[in-house]
């Protein structure tokens, strides 16, 4: 009897407390996400309905802003979108390819100077990119690569983002060595082991690397700002910035509409791979 009552009271307290937690969490979620929802709603509002109006529902629903925004500048937003897509997809291929090769060498192979190179690789994780920025710019200028996608894409094929080497290295080290040894007994060399044993077992880590590369490249503003000068070469982020400067003050709804468009690929990745992204951060400390 007494047991039953104590259980009941703790459950009640637990219930009240968990209700309180839910209230807190819902309030925080609402405050955090309201601006995003409001931007989405505003992109469907006529311009005069945006300012001073916090409503999440357009009184007069219109797609005008999307039509105006898409063709608002001298170059269509579709061109920016395509450019961003090309750069991001090439970066994903380059990053996954080059970083997994280096990670495999560091995780599994024996070679002279291995520890030396490994320490230098870790050192580059701390290096702010501003230090290499100007000589890299001069180098790409001399190669005549400025105003092309090459300065944004080629470094990815050379594993310039050491962070992903480290991520894949950690994952490869977790794969049991018995699997390699079995493959060696079957007569497999390092390339064969890499291709047929390591890569198939590392799909989650490769996917995490690929998704973060895509999102970070898609969102990158600084690189394109430095290297791309022609509007026909602009990425989505640069296009949006041009929009802010040229029409920003008069045409907020079109600006919001194109901002929503710019966020769509990232939101899609988030919707589909949310679990993988969160696990990737929790286990590796990715800054996200």
């Amino acid at each position: 009897m007494t047991d039953a009552t104590t259980v009941a009271t703790t459950q009640n307290v637990g219930g009240a407390r968990s209700l309180l937690y839910h209230v807190i969490l819902c309030a925080v979620s609402l405050v955090m996400l309201y601006p995003l929802l409001w931007m989405l709603a505003s992109s469907f509002k006529p311009d005069d309905e945006i300012f001073g109006n916090a409503s999440l529902w357009p009184d007069r629903f219109t797609l005008d802003a999307y039509i105006r925004g898409w063709s608002g500048l001298t170059v269509s937003f579709g061109t920016f979108f395509w450019n961003s897509l090309v750069i991001s997809v090439l970066s994903v291929i380059g990053n996954v390819f080059s970083c997994s090769l280096a990670a495999y060498a560091f995780a599994r192979l024996k070679f002279p100077l291995k520890n030396f190179w490994f320490a230098l690789m870790l050192g580059t994780l701390m290096l702010p990119y501003h230090v290499t920025l100007i000589p890299q710019y001069v180098l790409f200028l001399n190669l005549d690569w400025v105003n092309t996608f090459l300065p944004l894409v080629v470094p990815k094929f050379l594993a310039a983002d050491a962070f992903f080497i480290f991520l894949l290295y950690q994952f490869f080290r977790g794969i049991p060595r018995e699997l390699d040894e079995a493959a060696i007994i079957d007569g497999a060399g390092p390339w064969r082991i890499f291709w047929s044993v390591m890569l198939p077992l590392s799909v989650p880590a490769l996917a995490t690397a690929a998704i973060f590369t895509f999102i970070w490249t898609w969102d990158d503003f600084f690189g394109p700002l430095i290297y791309l000068n022609d509007a026909s070469q602009y990425t989505v982020q640069l296009g949006l910035r041009t929009f802010v400067d040229s029409t920003g003050k008069s045409d907020w709804s079109a600006l919001f509409a194109m901002s929503v468009v710019a966020l769509i690929p990232v939101l899609l990745f988030f919707a589909v791979f949310q679990r993988l992204l969160i696990e990737g951060i929790a286990t590796t400390g990715l800054k996200g």
Binding site: R17, P35, H130, T132, Q136, P190, I281, G288
Partner: protein
């Protein structure tokens, strides 16, 4: 038994020979895996790092060859550059406010989420979303509107009868809107804190309960000490990131760092010197000063870590 013993004997001779040749070819194979990174490291990282160190001692405008001017750039930066000191002040204010507040939010919400409440994956995903979106121009655009004179923030304040200023274009407030933008992205350190909290065994708290420790004592005597490795990690990552912040300040101020240089982040100043005025030597010196600041901060954190970071071993 006999067969297994014989196998090594029979292959000793050829193996020995192939091992000597194999050593070199194995090294070549290994380096073929390493090659893309090694080329990138030498050509895009090490070479440019040394080159920028040299350029920082020169006058260089891209048109003419760099002229060596000794430490003149550094001397001018330290003794005679008001904008440099101003951008330092802006950046340090930003780092000192944004990082602790962001981590406090992240830890607080991680602790609430760690109470085993229903719907954890949903909340976690919702809180994480701003971290994923925050770096993009679209969010900076949104922020500019939120804190404009007739923006959403002032509409909300209006409900309480408060007439807010034009936050973005008032130099007294513009930097704080960027601090708020950084706090808004507390999701990714929160996920790391949550993973850390999961590692703390529940029986530690049970023991503390029996000893009569209250919640506040439990937080300061158990949770925080056991979580210091995660605090350390998040602190370093977020601080370095905050020093490198660029995009939001650029978009909100249309590339100027205004109003009245109130959002002139260090990186923005570096960009202006290098790519607006093409003072490449001067910008290289600024980059090296940034590297020194980040290196000192990291070294200091690691050196002091043994006094406050408790590793569980």
């Amino acid at each position: 038994m006999t067969t297994t013993a014989q196998i090594p004997l029979t292959i000793t001779e050829p193996e020995k020979r192939s091992k000597r040749r194999g050593g070199l070819s194995r090294t070549l194979v290994s380096y073929s895996f390493l090659a893309p990174w090694l080329i990138g490291f030498l050509g895009l990282t090490l070479g440019p790092t040394l080159a920028s160190l040299y350029l920082s001692f020169t006058n260089f405008d891209l048109l003419q060859d760099p002229q060596f001017i000794g430490t003149a750039n550094y001397q001018r930066i330290i003794t005679n550059d008001v904008k440099f000191w101003h951008s330092m002040q802006v950046t340090f204010t930003y780092v000192i406010l944004a990082v602790p507040l962001k981590l406090a939010f992240a830890l607080g919400l991680a602790m609430v989420l760690n109470r085993g409440i229903a719907g954890l994956p949903l909340y976690r995903a919702l809180f994480y979303l701003p971290s994923l979106l925050g770096a993009s121009v679209a969010i900076a655009v949104l922020w500019r509107q939120l804190f404009a004179k007739d923006g959403l923030a002032n509409v909300a304040l209006g409900l309480f009868g408060i007439q807010g200023p034009s936050w973005i274009s008032d130099p007294n407030y513009s930097l704080y809107t960027l601090v708020l933008l950084s706090i808004w992205q507390f999701g990714s350190p929160m996920i790391i804190f949550l993973a850390g909290l999961r590692q703390i065994p529940p029986d530690v708290y049970e023991a503390a309960n029996i000893d009569g420790a209250n919640k506040v004592q439990q937080f300061f005597k158990i949770t925080l000490p056991l979580l210091t490795p995660v605090v350390f990690f998040n602190g370093i990552v977020q601080t370095i990131d905050a020093f490198k912040a660029f995009t939001p300040a650029f978009i909100i101020s249309e590339g100027t760092g205004g109003p009245i240089d109130s959002t002139l982040f260090y990186t923005l100043y570096l960009y202006q010197e290098g790519f607006a005025y093409f003072r490449m030597g001067y910008a290289s010196a600024l980059a090296w000063i940034l590297l020194i600041i980040i290196a000192c901060f990291t070294a200091f954190s690691f050196l002091t870590s043994r006094y406050w970071v408790h590793y569980n071993d």
